[in-house]
Every structure is written in structure tokens, then in C-alpha cells.
């Protein structure tokens, strides 16, 4: 359960104040699949950072599962990220020259989960994203873009997060591979996972159940997506 109330965010650069977010208020219930859409410079990335506990708002409150994150110190935010949030990035951000399983298990290292347990959880998460088991011991840089993003999704799932945050997850992928990734998100949402997708592409946003449109740091519209597109990838180029 996410609740944002009157969120403002300003940056000060050389004494000049830049207001990035102005009066943002919305709530996301568990199990929702929300797309936050807006052109570059609209403030959607800043909003994502706040939702992901990477940053705090200048004013306003942000509640995640009843925790007020708005004034939390760094190390407590790290704990929130470790226990409640899963990130998927545009550039995947996998550890190069590390195996798939090690990449996926990485968040659990910081949660003090023993190694064998870690790998068990990681394997389960990987199967959920549809990566074949024969790839688990491959090095991350031996994978295709679509496979890398699925590894990254699996990594975001291992801590069983309350919120899965995807920042332009299809930005580095071709259309069909993007469809594969989006279908993975839809499948996860069907299992009850709360997902927030940040994108600037309407096509991508259309896959979510609800779309929040942002422009110039303000919410322009917040609607249920009546015409949700169901991802329908063509025959998998990876052969999956």
C-alpha cells in the first residue's frame, strides 16, 4: 500500500531553486499495475526515486506499508529498499562476469540469507521470469538483452518486495523483446505483485491497468486503463 500526499521536490543548483515535483498526491493499493508516464523532464524519474526510497521529498509525506519514508535517514532507507522494494532498470545493471544465479541472489547477501538458501530462492525467482534453467550458471554478459532483463526482474523478486519498480525496463530492448518483458510483468501482476512502471512511451504504458500522466512535475491525469494491452510476444527470438 502506497500513499503519496502533497509531495514537493526541489533541487537547489547554485542558489537557484528548481521545482521538480509539485503537489503530487495519489495512492496505490496492493496488487495494482500502474504506469507513471510522462515526457523527459516531467519529473517521473524523481518520483520513481522517491517511491523507491532512494530519495526523500522536500515536503509532503510518503507512506509505504505504513512506514513514513519522507524523513527517514539513509541507513533506514537502505533497509526499506532491502526488504520492501524491487528495482528493474533500463540498463539492467547486472554484475558483469558473475553468474546469473549470483546476480539474482545478490540482494539476499545484504539480507544475511545463507548461500544455499539464497540460491534456492534465486532459482525459484528465475523460473517465474521464464529463464531456462540451463542459463543459471551462465555469466551475465553472455546473455541477450531480453534474458538480461529477465535476470534483473528475477533479482527484483528475491526479497519478495511490496513494490516492484521498473524504470523504463523496455528502453534498451527491441519491440518484441520488450513485449516478452512486459508479459513477464503482467504475469507477475496476475500473481498479486504490485508493480509501478515508469515510462515515456504510450505503447508501454498501455500494458498497465492504471496510468498516471505527469507533466512539469504535476499529475495531469490518473485513470484506470480501460484498454489494457495484453502483451503478445511473437515467437521468442531466444527460442524460449
Amino acid at each position: 500500500m502506497i500513499e503519496c500526499k502533497d509531495i514537493y521536490k526541489s533541487y537547489f543548483n547554485g542558489g537557484v531553486e528548481t521545482k521538480v515535483l509539485k503537489d503530487i498526491s495519489f495512492a496505490i493499493k496492493d496488487g495494482e499495475f500502474v504506469a507513471i508516464m510522462g515526457p523527459s523532464g516531467s519529473g517521473k524519474s524523481t518520483l520513481m526515486h522517491i517511491l523507491g526510497a532512494l530519495d526523500t521529498p522536500t515536503s509532503g509525506t510518503y507512506l509505504l506499508d505504513e512506514h513514513d519514508l519522507s524523513k527517514m535517514p539513509d541507513d533506514e532507507l537502505a533497509t526499506i529498499r532491502r526488504t520492501k522494494i524491487g528495482f528493474v532498470f533500463q540498463a539492467f545493471n547486472l554484475l558483469a562476469r558473475s553468474t546469473v544465479i549470483r546476480n539474482v541472489a545478490l540482494p539476499l547477501v545484504y539480507a544475511n540469507v545463507p548461500k544455499t538458501e539464497r540460491e534456492k530462492i534465486a532459482a525459484k525467482a528465475l523460473l517465474q521470469t521464464g529463464l531456462e534453467e540451463s542459463r543459471f550458471q551462465n555469466l551475465s554478459n553472455q546473455l541477450s538483452g531480453g534474458q538480461m532483463q529477465r535476470v534483473a526482474i528475477a533479482r527484483s523478486l528475491v526479497n519478495n518486495p511490496s513494490l516492484l519498480l521498473a524504470d523504463e525496463p523496455t528502453g534498451n530492448l527491441d519491440t518484441n523483446t520488450g513485449e516478452i518483458v512486459l508479459s513477464t510483468f503482467q504475469a507477475l501482476n496476475k500473481q498479486g505483485r504490485t508493480i509501478v512502471l515508469i515510462t515515456h512511451e504510450m505503447d508501454v504504458a498501455m500494458h498497465a491497468k492504471r496510468i498516471i500522466l505527469i507533466r512539469d512535475g504535476q499529475i495531469l491525469s490518473d485513470k484506470i486503463n480501460e484498454n489494457q494491452v495484453i502483451a503478445n510476444p511473437k515467437k521468442d527470438i531466444d527460442g524460449n
Binding site: D74, D75, A78, F89, N93, S98, L106, P107
Partner: protein, 411 residues
Amino acid sequence: MKTSDLFEESYSALTVNKVRTTLTMLGIIIGIGSVIAMVAIGQGAQGSIAARINSIGSNLIIVTPGAQRGPGVTISAGLGSSQSLTIADELAIKTQVTNITAVEPELSKRYQITAKGTNTNTNVIGTDSSYPTVRNVSMDTGSFINDQQVTDAMKVAVIGPTVRDTLFGIGSDAIGQTIKINSMQFKVVGVTAPKGGSGFANQDNMVFIPISVSARFLVGSNAKGEPYVSTIAISADNAGNMTAVQDQVTQLLMARHKVADSASADFTVQNQADIVSAASGVASTFTILLASVAAISLLVGGIGIMNMMLTTVTERTREIGLRKAIGATRADINFQFLTEAIILTFTGGILGIIFGWGTSLIANNFGIASTVTVASIVLAFGVSALIGVVFGYYPARRASKLNPIEALRYE
């Protein structure tokens, strides 16, 4: 984050760029290795100097004529050539000083020595039968001068192995041969065993004759007509009594020579321990000098570590951002990078110790005495770990302070 995971993360990060890791570690290996080797060589030198000095006698106290010497070297024209010590002094020490095992007089002078057309110029020492006991001399063949030969002033000689080799050929049997010292014939009755040493201290390049002979026929007596000596060597019964014996000898000789003030004494009493400590003082300065040169290379190695860690932090900015995004705390990041630096220096330290030890063994093979001590290993180990902490601290701190948002955006 668990310790085992910390090590695994650090290990896998270090193995990503093996060449760089190896080269950086090489700095530490050479640094630690040279500290170990240099200290080993320095201490080996100290040990061998002490051993050489000890080889000239055990618990030795040496009395020489001439002014008292202070610490260090005082150039004094008359030292050793003065004729103030006499056989009577030697006898007085023998009978009146306690805690001594033996006393021997020496009257030495350089002479040209000839035998069968060959010749050499060396020290001829007039002494008595106590010489081997006091000076740790053992015989190779024949026997040393005995009391009878001294009493009867027999023209017999004991020669050192170098003299034998020069005059009669290497390893030849010299017993019964005749040598001429100052045109006087002496019969060779013994050859001493080799002791080593070089230059003026060469213990093997000497000829020994009864002191009575040298006083009567070679050197002569002093102005007062008394037979004089150039050295009186005393052997104390144990190392603990050295100072006491030295004091007794000083008191006795001051009384005999009617000197009230020890500063104006016409003789010098030197303790072997003083000579050893003076010489090993020189050697330890030498050790410090070598070690500090080596320490500089260790410092350079440490700077190499810091340089590599800073490059690594920059290169892995996105990785640091990711780790923070998935829940790593500042402390987690800090420890990881610090651990990487410490693994580098620790492994480098162990390899450096092996390298240094190997170098010192090779040096030993080439005849350079070197001793690797436990203390130097422990020190090197501690220093290498410390270098890891010191030079890893700043890069690790920098990594831990990175803003995750900016780190994730870093290209």
C-alpha cells in the same frame, strides 16, 4: 552482510581484472619482500660480526698500553707502541685478579719471514702457553708453545695456516721445517687451525714464538730495562664477571703504575662486549638504512593500492549504485572495498614474505649471511595489513558516500 559473503564479494571483484590485481599486488610483494630480505641481511651481518669478534676469544678482556680510549675511535699516535706494560704486570694480574681462567702476554711486531727462498711479511707474536685458551685457538697439526719452551727461550715457532700456505705451499706439512725471522732460525712445531677473518684481524696470518725469545732476541726491553709487552689478554670465567674483572685489572694496574686518575692512565682496558656492541651498533645502523630504503618501496606499493582502488571505485560506480539500490548500507559498501584492499595487501604480504625469505636464502648461498627473524615477519605482516587499511580507507569511504541515484546514472 556476513563475513563469508564479504570475502566472496571482494574475492570475485578482485578476480575480474586479474592482471591489474596482480600488478598492484606486485608492488606490495616487492615492498614486503625487500623489507624482509634487507632486514635479514642486516641482521645476518650483525650476527656474523658478533661471531667474528667472539672468535678472537671468549670473555676476553684486553689490556693495551697507551691512553684510555673513549667511545668511538680516537686516533692516538702512541697507541700500542708505548712500552708501559710489562711482563711483571702480566704476572701481577695472573696472581692477584680473581674470576679469571687464563692470562697471556703478547709482544707483537711485524717481521719479514723467510723459508727456502719464499718469504712473507707478517705479525710475529711472542706469547706463552695460555694463548690458545684465551684466544680460542686450536691446533691443526703439532702443538702450541709450552711452558718449558718459554722458560728455556727455545727458538720454536707455531705458524698460522696462511703463513704455512705462503711459505711451504698450500696444505703442506710444515712441522719440523725451519723458518727465519730477522735472520734467526726457528723450528716449526705446530700449525694453528684456520679461523677466518681478514685484513689486520686475520687470525691465520700469524707466527707465534715464546715471549721470552721475542723479548730477549727480537724486540728487546723498554727504557727501564724491563721486558715489556704489547698486549695482555685476560679470559674471565664467565660473561657476567667481565666488568668486575675489568675493574680489578684497572685498579691493580693503576696502583702498579702509580696513576691516581683513570683518565690519565697509561694503559687501556677493553672489554670484548664493548667491541661487540660498538660493531653491532654499526651493523644495526646499516640494517636501519637498508630497511628504510625497502620501506620506501613498500610505501610506493601502498600508493599503488590506493590508486587501483580509486580507479576501481570510479569504474564500478554503477555497481555501487545498484548495490545501494538493492539495500546495501554505507557500512556494507565501505567494508567491501576495505576488504578488497586488505585482501590485496595481505596476499601480497604473504607472497612478499616468501619472496623475501627466498631472497635471503639465495643471499646465504652466495655467502652473504642473512637471518630472517620471526619479529621481521610479524612486523611485515602487520605493516602490510595496516597499509591495506590506510590506503584502502579513503577509496572505500568515497565509494560508500556515493549517492545511489547519481551512481546509477553514471556512464
